[in-house]
């Protein structure tokens, strides 16, 4: 690829990228630890904490019940409880689900791949449709295409993901595509505005005036300017897709962690919910950090 002034493709070996990695990992770790503490606090304060079904066993004597309670007494201190929770977490033990009567880690291991599959498919679909439509509108400057796109996006932005899921069930459409429909309007709107702003920059206008073709203007002049902000959107769309996974999986009966979270909420299984929230937060944080880092690499290489 020919090197041109003002625009260089990013390289992963850039010093800025590598030196940012430990800082980023530390940031994620601290965020997860604080998030974990908040989660543990929620679990500790949840109604029913410290109550065990075993205590209802009529065969147990008062001493046995007392002994059972004594084993849980140490958990009454929030910090001790968090320390124990954290040490269990380090061993991969996420505790037991009250509603499912099985280890949380087992349920998560079974269901997370399902959700990730839907997520990847939905994001790929939403990004390609939204970005390509935005590019087509900005480059062609066709008002009817813009109007059509805006109307479609306007309607989609007004529909809750749960309604879309119900309509998918009604139409017997493949449910996994729903996440694509949820992220599509956000990507389209943001990309169109960003590309339109970039295409109005003086250097782009000069390039056009010099007679450069649409494709060359897009690839060499518009996209490099818009790329860092577009990449930052990637992390945000992961979070949006995870959120939409709950109604999609709950209403379309897909066995992912969204459905698990919904069942846990209905069964008031706070331990399961907090662990799921932590896992989703971790995935979202990693996605956000990666997209931020790639965006920064683009910025560095542009200067």
């Amino acid at each position: 690829m020919r090197a041109r002034p003002g625009c260089r493709m990013p390289r992963w070996g850039d010093i800025t990228t590598l030196s940012a990695l430990p800082k980023l990992a530390a940031k994620i770790l601290v965020t997860v630890l604080i998030g974990g503490f908040l989660g543990a606090t929620l679990m500790r304060l949840a109604p029913g904490f410290g109550v065990d079904e075993e205590e209802l066993d009529a065969r147990l004597s008062a001493q046995s019940i007392q002994a059972l309670r004594a084993t849980r007494e140490a958990d009454s201190n929030l910090f001790v409880f968090y320390f124990r929770y954290l040490s269990r977490l380090l061993r991969g033990d996420l505790g037991n689900s009250r509603t499912l009567q099985r280890p949380v880690s087992q349920s998560v291991a079974e269901r997370l791949p399902e959700t990730l599959k839907s997520l990847v498919l939905g994001l790929a679909l939403g990004w390609s449709a939204g970005f390509l439509l935005a590019v087509a509108i900005v480059m062609s400057r066709a008002w009817y295409l813009d109007l059509l796109g805006s109307l479609l996006v306007g309607v989609l932005l007004c529909l809750p993901a749960a309604v879309l899921a119900l309509l998918f069930v009604l139409a017997q459409a493949p449910a996994r595509l729903l996440l694509g429909l949820v992220v599509f309007p956000k990507i389209f709107r943001y990309s169109r505005n960003l590309l339109a702003r970039s295409s109005a920059l003086p250097h782009v206008l000069t390039a056009r005036a010099k007679g450069l073709g649409n494709m060359r203007v897009l690839i060499w002049h518009i996209l490099p300017t818009a790329a860092p902000q577009l990449l930052a959107l990637l992390g945000v769309t992961v979070s949006v897709a995870f959120t939409a996974a709950i109604p999609m999986e709950a209403l379309c009966d897909l066995p992912g962690i969204g459905q698990l979270a919904w069942k846990a909420a209905l069964g008031r299984d706070v331990a399961l919910l907090v662990n799921l929230t932590m896992i989703v937060t971790l995935v979202t944080l990693v996605a956000n950090s990666v997209s931020d880092m790639v965006g920064k690499t683009f910025r560095v290489s542009e200067t």
């Binding site: 965020t31 604080i34 998030g35 929620l42 304060l45 949840a46 109604p47 306007g154 309607v155 932005l157 007004c158 529909l159 809750p160 993901a161 749960a162 309604v163 119900l166 309509l167 009604l170 943001y190 505005n193 960003l194 702003r197 979070s239 995870f242 959120t243 709950i246 109604p247 709950a250 209403l251 979270a261 919904w262 846990a264 909420a265 209905l266 008031r268 299984d269 706070v270 919910l273 907090v274 799921l276 929230t277 989703v280 937060t281 979202t284 944080l285 956000n288």
Partner: protein, 268 residues
């Protein structure tokens, strides 16, 4: 697009007026059951028919819209005020205060919105009245929705804190609180106003999602979430098209909220 904005405002005003006058317009109470007429088709007595429990759908749409249209702006106001307080102080103070507050905001933003909401919802007591459940739902939305707006307000407050008129005010002896109250906050009004209008449809949509999942407002009080939940029993569009009217009204109201802000007021 001035005409679209005007139309949206007029439409919102008309819908709000109809909902506020629901006690006079609605032919029946939202909870009253016409037990002989479950799932009735539209008629002169029941303009939008009845639901599977025999409740007048038109009345439920009016009362449900009232719940969402009154409480979503209240939740948006709460979240905007929280954002103004947190973001304003962080931006104005700068230094370690800003870094700490923004780290907390980042943490809050990393938490998946709906996961967090259903976790908090699961912690709340079960035996609450419908009115309390609706208040809890929207208060939760208001308390958890401030983070994004706080970040924007912090950036704006930071820029304002370094502007010439603030420097002049400092030079003429204005202290911290006076500067914040008299000079900074009035200049943050436009951004707060935009954040408020952006939050309203977001909260309406979130409540609808929670309601459809059965985690929102408790029955028999209607809200858009519980009204849209009826679509679960919907089998064909041609046979029961009137059941789609709440959905159409919902789309119109939410899109009207989107149209209220001009292009310049909207973030990119």
């Amino acid at each position: 697009m001035k005409w679209a904005r005007t139309t949206a405002i007029v439409f919102l005003l008309a819908v709000s007026a109809a909902c506020l006058l629901a006690n006079f317009i609605a032919p029946a109470s939202y909870a009253h059951q016409f037990r002989d007429e479950p799932n009735a088709a539209p008629s002169r007595q029941h303009l939008l028919g009845t639901d599977d429990l025999g409740r007048d759908r038109f009345s439920r749409v009016l009362y449900g819209t009232r719940v969402s249209l009154l409480l979503a702006p209240a939740a948006a106001l709460l979240s905007s005020l929280l954002a103004a307080f947190i973001g304003g102080i962080a931006g104005f103070a700068g230094g370690w205060v800003e870094r700490c507050v923004m780290a907390g905001t980042d943490l809050f933003l990393s938490l998946p919105w709906l996961f967090l909401l259903i976790t908090v919802r699961a912690l709340l007591p079960l035996n609450v009245s419908p009115i309390v459940s609706v208040l809890i739902t929207f208060a939760m939305l208001g308390c958890l929705g401030w983070a994004g707006a706080a970040r924007i307000i912090c950036a704006d407050a930071q820029a304002l804190a370094q502007s010439d008129f603030i420097l002049l005010a400092r030079a003429s002896g204005s202290d911290g609180l006076r500067l914040l109250w008299r000079h900074l906050l009035p200049n943050l009004k436009p951004i707060l106003f935009a954040q408020f209008w952006i939050s309203v449809p977001v909260f309406i949509l979130t409540e609808a999602n929670l309601g459809i999942l059965g985690l929102g407002v408790a029955e028999p009080l209607p809200s858009w979430g519980s009204l849209l939940r009826e679509l679960e029993g919907f089998s064909s569009i041609s046979g029961q098209a009137w059941q789609l009217i709440p959905l159409i009204l919902f789309i119109l109201v939410v899109s009207s909220f989107h149209l209220v802000l001009t292009k310049e007021e909207l973030p990119i």
